[in-house]
Symmetry: D5
Amino acid sequence: MTKLGYTARHAESVKRVKLPQIEGFPNQYKRDYTVKIIHPEFTSVCPKTGLPDFGIITIEYVPDKFCLELKSLKYYFLKYRNLGVFMENTVNKILDDVVASIKPKRCVVTGEFTPRGGIKSIITAEHRKKK
Amino acid sequence: MTKLGYTARHAESVKRVKLPQIEGFPNQYKRDYTVKIIHPEFTSVCPKTGLPDFGIITIEYVPDKFCLELKSLKYYFLKYRNLGVFMENTVNKILDDVVASIKPKRCVVTGEFTPRGGIKSIITAEHRKKK
Amino acid sequence: MTKLGYTARHAESVKRVKLPQIEGFPNQYKRDYTVKIIHPEFTSVCPKTGLPDFGIITIEYVPDKFCLELKSLKYYFLKYRNLGVFMENTVNKILDDVVASIKPKRCVVTGEFTPRGGIKSIITAEHRKKK
Amino acid sequence: MTKLGYTARHAESVKRVKLPQIEGFPNQYKRDYTVKIIHPEFTSVCPKTGLPDFGIITIEYVPDKFCLELKSLKYYFLKYRNLGVFMENTVNKILDDVVASIKPKRCVVTGEFTPRGGIKSIITAEHRKKK
Amino acid sequence: MTKLGYTARHAESVKRVKLPQIEGFPNQYKRDYTVKIIHPEFTSVCPKTGLPDFGIITIEYVPDKFCLELKSLKYYFLKYRNLGVFMENTVNKILDDVVASIKPKRCVVTGEFTPRGGIKSIITAEHRKKK
Amino acid sequence: MTKLGYTARHAESVKRVKLPQIEGFPNQYKRDYTVKIIHPEFTSVCPKTGLPDFGIITIEYVPDKFCLELKSLKYYFLKYRNLGVFMENTVNKILDDVVASIKPKRCVVTGEFTPRGGIKSIITAEHRKKK
Amino acid sequence: MTKLGYTARHAESVKRVKLPQIEGFPNQYKRDYTVKIIHPEFTSVCPKTGLPDFGIITIEYVPDKFCLELKSLKYYFLKYRNLGVFMENTVNKILDDVVASIKPKRCVVTGEFTPRGGIKSIITAEHRKKK
Amino acid sequence: MTKLGYTARHAESVKRVKLPQIEGFPNQYKRDYTVKIIHPEFTSVCPKTGLPDFGIITIEYVPDKFCLELKSLKYYFLKYRNLGVFMENTVNKILDDVVASIKPKRCVVTGEFTPRGGIKSIITAEHRKKK
Amino acid sequence: MTKLGYTARHAESVKRVKLPQIEGFPNQYKRDYTVKIIHPEFTSVCPKTGLPDFGIITIEYVPDKFCLELKSLKYYFLKYRNLGVFMENTVNKILDDVVASIKPKRCVVTGEFTPRGGIKSIITAEHRKKK
Amino acid sequence: MTKLGYTARHAESVKRVKLPQIEGFPNQYKRDYTVKIIHPEFTSVCPKTGLPDFGIITIEYVPDKFCLELKSLKYYFLKYRNLGVFMENTVNKILDDVVASIKPKRCVVTGEFTPRGGIKSIITAEHRKKK
């Protein structure tokens, strides 16, 4: 059904790329509450064309023991600037990396990207901690 | 109740029109996540008046084994440019063609068309994979 | 509690006014899907003051065997231009007439009217087919 | 916990202020439907400062035997123009008076007031008829 | 996993800072209703950089025996102007202080802060009275 | 160059249609000042199709001895509701009638009409009193 | 040309109504600069219908020796709340009163009023100091 | 300085393409006035990529003896749907064709096109009749 | 005409308050060009009430030998956070301090402040270098 | 007056950086007309912090013998992605490079950059051909 074998191999390798650690700081409150972080200046590179992609990344999570430390998150996002990665994989990889770092009770990552060829993409992925 | 037999025959034939294959590429992630694709530059031809229709097509889906490849989707949309088709059928046909191509777990297609004769139409159709 | 007997008699007679038939055309698809029609140029006459009312009429329905034919709908709306009718009755009457014509599985009609005397009205009525 | 005894006494007396009757007219339709009325020109007086308050009052109701007659409602609202009343009580009193007049199946009143001292208030109260 | 021990100690001490009492006034109505208070002029100081943070604080509550008195709330907010406090803790602390003052049936506090380093934060915490 | 003789004859006759007098009231102030009147609920009939046109009419004038009386203006506009008239002529005729009535020092009339066939028109005409 | 003699006499008397003094405070700077003051909560009474008018009043001036003191201006505006006055005269009277109080080098007053009978008015008057 | 010889030759030939005549109808008024026509549904084809371009075309003119007849203009625009033409030339050619048809006293044509490759273009050309 | 002597003395003293130096960096280009700087997070204290004021400060200038260095400007603005100063004087003082620092060919400073007592102020002052 | 010698030396060297040639294509029309190009996806690097800047670049020009070729312009903008350059110099350098390439009759370049440290910058530079 598809001849895009290249795409699959590339995407697989991106999953294994090591990016800088996203740090957390201890959550002071025991109640469940929600933190929503919006980064409207995300940019990466399209692996097929080599041209830049731009987007708004949103991370919404319920902290458990740790909250996201914003400065380390800023430097984490910066590593995508010259990285070739598909938009679907960007969103899933950010979700994996946030979950690995601060183990939130729940986390939703959304990427809303600027149009390419007259077509705009919005991708959303969610993780829930097993009880 | 209706004398629009012409309309019915025309619509029937549109269902059988062959458009270019929408391609997919392998989905790298196992979790359920959502991809929303927005194409604000859709245009087709009204089969009754021969005049152009314009609209915004949105495809929202949960991928199973494949994701929509955007370049093939762009060329698929292009084939409607000189095709006579009613707005209700456009939305249902796009849904059929996306489902046939990438067999998503769930897919919703929406068409929001510019007003004609002071009347604007928004059509929404949904498909869910049988379990 | 009210001395507005005039209003009641008038409204009753409007329910029996015959307007042009809204036509349908055969629905080509078996799945449940939604059609939303927006008419921002609705105008009628206030039966108490004789002054014009303006509004946006929205019809959202799930077609069964027929879809609404838009040209006949346009001429149907046109008949309200010089008709004296209260806003509450306008919305209920349009719902009755659409249901009588195309027998949809579900239908919601909304009228959002421009302010009169500094007061704006939005009226919504719904019909569901009995199973 | 509070020294605002003055406030309590004042609010209590407002509950007993007699305002002009809100009239209804007979509802012509048996189905449940919703009427939403928006009055963006509401003004009253703050009982503590004597300065005017401004707000948008919204009444959303499902009529039973009667609908709200808008002209009488306009004159009802006018009586607040020089009345000292707290915003929380305004919304509850309008709800009480609408319910007493037309006995709707359900009614929600919302008051969205302009900021005072950099703080804006939105108050919402709901009534449901007992079955 | 984190080296931000400083952050944790600081946040802990903020939880114990005494701010001026938020006062209430007696609620005149027995029904459950909602009061939403929006303060778009909130400002505090970032404890790491010493630079100001700005935000919109929203408090939405269902009053039990008392309503929030707005003037005392304004002076309560003013105390944050030169206080070093993290955004996550601001929202939780305001919730704690409102709950301690007027013991509402339900209360949600939201803080929507202006971007820092291209990253914007929105934090939401909720309290429900035990029955 | 054009075969639209019909159009010309029709337009000519509209210039001679007698509409109700627009009244004025005495201007109390000697300084030059500007009054801008906006009527967003204008509607007339297209003489070619018989279908309604909708538009926003704006009258901006510097009064001399008289100001426009708004109630008579409302009834003047109402006469266009069932009048067949081209948009270009509507704007010029309103300007002629305002100038004849209150003889302003300067007057600009603009008509901004809703799209027909995907084409929207805005027409502006100006009169200045000879000195 | 007009039978609205009542209107003229009423307007004449409004010109002589004494309102509270608008105060000024000494201007500290010698350069020409502009102060624009916007009051979106203006309300008065229509002398013909007795119903309230609402509007946004804007005063833009170049101070000479004095600037407008805002608290006295607030109490000045408050006096219009129960005063019957036409919109054209409101704007001209505010201009007269500001000029009499602080003798600015230049002053423009604008009133933008909410629609009545579907017609909205914006009135603008200007004063320049003679050299 | 450029190797785009192809572009030049193509553009030259577009200048000579014959499109359907834009018709006029006789102007009924002698005063100078302005007509602004907005067509938000313009589409043509990029001669280099074969992909569609979309744009909003605005024609603003002061009529002399004739006004633009909108129906013929609609069919004139339709001819661009499958025509390969650069955006700069589209705007200049429309201006040439309008001027040839109705010989206006003044005419400005603007084309505002949707982005391609992240770059949006707006082109404006003006003609004034020689006196 | 005014009894606000206190105000005058206070304002006079503010003119002499020493704030941190705004630094410049050498302008690399000889042509006249414009730099517009917008700071939406300005806050100071009202000298009469002791309550905070908030505003958007805009500085637009044509550089001569130096451009404004933004980091020093940020720390300059920070000094107003706990300074009692009237809005008219804020704008004039910022203009004085920018002119003293980088001696621009032209400079305009605007302050747009949030409403107090339902009244919003916008102040604009301009400096031009003498030739 | 400034100690930012580093800044000056850096900026000087940026003026001499060689970027890819912006190409032109022959202008087909002799009349003066305007082309406005908007690039909302501009990004460069701040030379002081190493962090990315984002902005919207607008180029408005009157072509003489050549028009800007958009594909070469896209690749020209791309070279700024990893270039350290101050915002003031970005705008002036783009203007220099456009003027050197297509020698327009007039050209204005504007850069509107996203806020840094709560401060937003908009820079505008203009070139006119000598006659």
